[in-house]
């Protein structure tokens, strides 16, 4: 996250605390797409993900007086969304969507070719997805929040309700594991040739 966005979020946080609906709307427009994408990573469905994110913004507004302007508003919202997602998965565990199926859906090939500018190797992207998915759950979460959601370590700590030190351990472990997967994959490629 660059300096400007960080400042902007701080301003939003202060103003939303003061019940400023315009600031709330701006923050919503900025945060909604990435949060839905983030939530869909848990629920596997866009519809439930967008319901959850809307719930999260309603909660944010209702609890606006509790916003701490010195802490990350972004992390606060991610935490609400993550908790709602975990609740959702728990409550709907009887009808849980097959996670393999979700993976297959999310990784459909036409999306890959369209969405990988500057990276010609679409299949490597897919390999990485599989590897990330194979990581222990918490490592995976911490890594994704850092890599794809652009959160700082102390923000991830807020979101996952663990210490920044543990966050770092998870991410380091995740990267080491991904490196192993990648090296094995490279070796296999070379052998095939």
């Amino acid at each position: 996250m660059n300096q400007k966005t960080e400042q902007q979020i701080k301003t939003w946080a202060r103003n939303i605390r003061k019940s400023d609906r315009k600031a709330f709307d701006e923050f919503f427009r900025w945060g909604y797409p990435m949060l839905v994408r983030f939530a869909a990573g848990y629920t596997g469905q866009k519809s439930s993900a967008s319901d959850i994110v809307q719930d999260a913004f309603v909660i944010l507004w209702q609890k606006r007086s509790e916003i701490n302007p010195n802490r990350s508003l972004k992390a606060y919202l991610y935490r609400i969304v993550r908790n709602l997602c975990l609740n959702h998965l728990r409550d709907s565990s009887g009808t849980v969507v097959d996670s393999e199926l979700v993976q297959g859906e999310a990784f459909s090939s036409d999306e890959l070719s369209n969405e990988s500018p500057g990276n010609s190797n679409g299949s490597l992207d897919q390999k990485f997805r599989e590897w990330i998915h194979a990581l222990p759950e918490r490592q995976q979460e911490a890594f994704e929040l850092s890599r794809f959601e652009g959160l700082e370590h102390d923000e991830i700590a807020d979101v996952m309700e663990i210490s920044p030190k543990t966050v770092n351990n998870h991410i380091v472990a995740a990267l080491r594991q991904l490196r192993t997967f990648y090296e094995e994959y490279q070796k296999k490629l070379n052998n095939d040739i």
């Binding site: 507004w61 500057g118 700082e152 080491r176 490196r179």
Partner: protein, 314 residues
Amino acid sequence: MTRTGKNQKNGAVPKEVLEQLNENDHPSIISVWKKSEYARPSQTKISPKEIENALSEVHRRIEPHSGKKSITGNIPQYARYLVAAVALIAITFLFFFLPRTASVPYGEMATLELPDGTKVEMNSGTTLRYNRLYRFTDRTVELNGEAYFNVASHGHPFIVEANGASIEVTGTEFNVRSWRGDQQAETTVSVSEGEVFFYPNKFKENQITLTAGESSYWNPRLIEPSAPEPVTIEDITAWREQRFVFRDQTLISILHELERRYNATIELDVDGVEQSTLTAYYSEQVQLESVLDDICTVKGLRYTRTTTGYRIFK
């Protein structure tokens, strides 16, 4: 935030990660980090239209008194009834504690009779608020503007709260002028019959007593109301007959009064005359333009019509 990961900070391996690793490990870890850039697990795309639809849905839900849809999901039946019962009680309470408001639009005047028989004549642009249990719990009204009170005798003392000051009476007639928007935020009380107690809400001990034919004012810069002074009550209450009596009144407050009485905008496009004072009497209803004629003659100004009213200039 975008998938292209333009900014450096977002794209780089977090420094805490590197700090925990051996230097030898850095290149391979950085390489893995970079290669994973497009491996985001979920590719969900959201169109601007979807964002706006979601936002209006959220608006609908956070709008007060429209929370219906927010009670959904896996709430057991009895909980819904409980919520409904609590809501009903809350609404009943609100009903009793939400004040009633009476407002007189610009260009009009009105007389209001309160449940205890007290009559309130309200000047243009005035607002009066009182609680629904008025007469049972208390007899307090909140005033912004100007009104003439003819208070009925009753158990509770009758109290007018006006921009930081209070006037307390048992049964009498008096005029209160207290415009929140006026520069001085001044509250002036003039008594025509009986007596009233007048005090700033912050210094209740500085209460003064006003009797018939006396007037006093208070503004937030004073710790106590001004000493009672004799007044001609008919001048003070000239507005009740749609007349005007301006006695050493500042130009700006005269213009505000005209704006309210005639429901017109009057722009003052001249520097330094707002606080200059003016004395004028109009013993019967007059046209706004003849008042403006007089003001401009006395002050050496001119005026012209605008789409919504008048503009005064030099």
